[in-house]
Amino acid sequence: MSIKVRYFASLKELLGRSEDELEFVEVMSVIEVWKQLNIGIELPDNILAAINMEYVSLDSLVNKDDEVAFFPPVTGG
């Protein structure tokens, strides 16, 4: 029972890795997931978050087996 956490694009380069696993202990918010995995690194202002491939706010709750993602503004097209 774990949470998969993914990072993309410039954020991935900034952190130097593309994903983390976090053991699921209790329900927590997206921003708390970030804080647990990136101690001392503030989440940059413009970063977006998703749970299970849907956009969410940073106070949304993360459950076991969820996939959480953090990434900068999208620039496709």
Binding site: S10, F71, V74, G77
Partner: protein, 151 residues
């Protein structure tokens, strides 16, 4: 409706031809086709660009594109939609994105192709990294509103 994410170069006109031929049920029914093709330029923000890498969040890309197309088909009268987007390494003059919309009347086709492009640019998890002539690389920080910026 079809969404394709391609890791190699594609010909937008061939994609349209292929899709239109395969969708035989539309024959005689569509009066309007609105197509948008986004192509890699060899300049951006005042710099010469020699290449580009497009990264995406595989899975979420398809989920978000599917939602956008479904919303558009609920809001407007549309017969069919094809969206193709490149990922990986691109060079100037390479097509990046194709949006093609078939409808009975032209208003819907125009509205939907633009709606899909704007939604794709703001919601679908693609990211572009530009390689300058100097070999320096930089992430594009955000999409613009689609008009010439005052540089």
């Amino acid at each position: 409706m079809q969404v394709k994410i391609l890791e190699t170069a594609f010909d937008p006109l061939q994609e349209i031809q292929r899709y239109q031929s395969s969708a035989g049920s539309m024959k005689g029914k569509y009066g309007a086709t609105s197509i948008f093709i986004g192509t890699m330029r060899d300049f951006n923000d005042g710099d010469n660009i020699k290449g580009m890498t497009v990264e995406h969040y595989s899975g979420m890309t398809e989920v978000q594109l599917g939602k956008i197309i479904t919303e558009a088909m609920q809001k407007w009268q549309v017969l069919d939609v094809l969206v193709v987007h490149r990922v990986g390494d691109l060079y100037p003059d390479d097509p990046i994105v194709l949006v093609a919309v078939w409808s009975t009347h032209r208003g819907d086709a125009f509205d939907v192709s633009r709606y899909i492009m704007e939604a794709l640019k703001s919601k679908v998890p693609f990211w572009k990294k530009e390689i300058l002539q100097s070999e320096a690389a930089r992430w594009v920080d955000k999409n613009t509103d689609g008009y010439k910026r005052h540089e």
